[in-house]
C-alpha cells in the first residue's frame, strides 16, 4: 500500500499536464518506517531528459537535486512517477526492464482517458505487483 497526500497527487497531475504531449516524471520521497505502510511526504517534479511521448529518463541533475533535498528533509527517495500519455497506467516492458530499485514504488499516471488515472506498482526482479494507493487529506 502507498499512502499519498492529496496535495502531492495534485502536484503530480499538474506536472504531468504541464508536460503534455510528452511523458512527465519525478521522484517520490518519504520516511521509511519498518512495519508501516509506505507514505509519500514530498514529490520532486523532474525534467524528462528524453523529451519524448514514449520514454522518459529523469534528468540526472534533477535526480541529484531530489536526493539532496530529500536527505535534507530527513526523507528518502522511495519511488518514481511518470505519465503514460496514450496508454493505460500499467508498467511497459521498458519500465519493468529498467526499474532501478526493488524497494521503490512505481507510480503511473495515465492521461489516455478524460480523467487522470493513478496506479502504483512494485517491480521486483521483473515481476510486477500492483498496490493500493490511499489518498489522504
Amino acid at each position: 500500500m502507498l499512502v499519498l497526500p492529496r496535495s502531492c497527487w495534485y502536484r503530480i497531475v499538474a506536472h504531468c499536464l504541464d508536460w503534455l504531449p510528452l511523458e512527465a516524471c519525478g521522484l517520490l520521497a518519504g520516511m521509511v518506517q519498518p512495519g508501516q505502510p509506505a507514505r509519500v511526504d514530498e514529490v520532486y517534479p523532474a525534467s524528462n531528459a528524453e523529451r519524448s511521448a514514449r520514454v522518459y529518463t529523469v534528468e540526472p541533475r534533477d535526480l541529484l537535486r531530489a536526493d539532496r533535498a530529500a536527505e535534507a528533509a530527513g526523507l528518502t527517495v522511495v519511488g518514481v512517477w511518470h505519465s503514460h500519455t496514450h496508454t493505460p497506467a500499467y508498467p511497459s516492458p521498458t519500465d519493468i526492464a529498467q526499474a532501478p530499485d526493488p524497494d521503490w514504488h512505481y507510480l503511473l499516471v495515465s492521461l489516455s482517458d478524460s480523467e487522470p488515472v493513478l496506479r502504483s506498482y512494485r517491480i521486483v526482479a521483473g515481476e510486477v505487483t500492483d498496490e493500493p494507493v490511499v489518498l489522504t487529506p
Partner: protein
C-alpha cells in the same frame, strides 16, 4: 586522493551496508577500481565487461555529471565527493 563515495540504497548491501565509502585515485577510473578492489561485488554494477561506465549508473563529481567531465578520465581531487545513483528511466 581520498574521496567520499555516496552509494545508493541498491548498492549498499554490496559495499558493507554503509551509505558512504572511501576510495582513492587521481581519476574516476582509479576511484572505481579502488572501490571494486574493496568490494568486488560492486564491479558488475559500476562497470561493463569492457570496463566502461555502466549505462544504468549516473555519477556526479561534487555537483557535476561526470559524462561532461571526461567520464572515467574525470580528474578527482582530495575531499571531492562522488555520488552514485541509478539512472531512472522507462517508457
Amino acid at each position: 586522493m581520498a574521496v567520499e563515495v555516496r552509494l545508493p540504497n541498491i548498492l549498499r548491501p554490496l559495499a558493507g551496508g554503509e551509505p558512504v565509502a572511501k576510495a582513492e585515485g587521481a581519476t574516476l577510473r582509479d576511484v572505481l577500481d579502488d572501490l571494486v578492489q574493496q568490494y568486488p561485488g560492486l564491479r558488475g554494477s559500476l562497470l561493463t565487461a569492457e570496463g566502461d561506465m555502466h549505462r544504468h549508473l549516473v555519477i556526479f563529481l561534487n555537483d557535476d555529471d561526470v559524462r561532461y567531465l571526461g567520464r572515467l578520465d574525470a580528474k578527482v581531487a582530495d575531499s571531492d565527493t562522488l555520488t552514485l545513483m541509478p539512472a531512472v528511466a522507462g517508457g
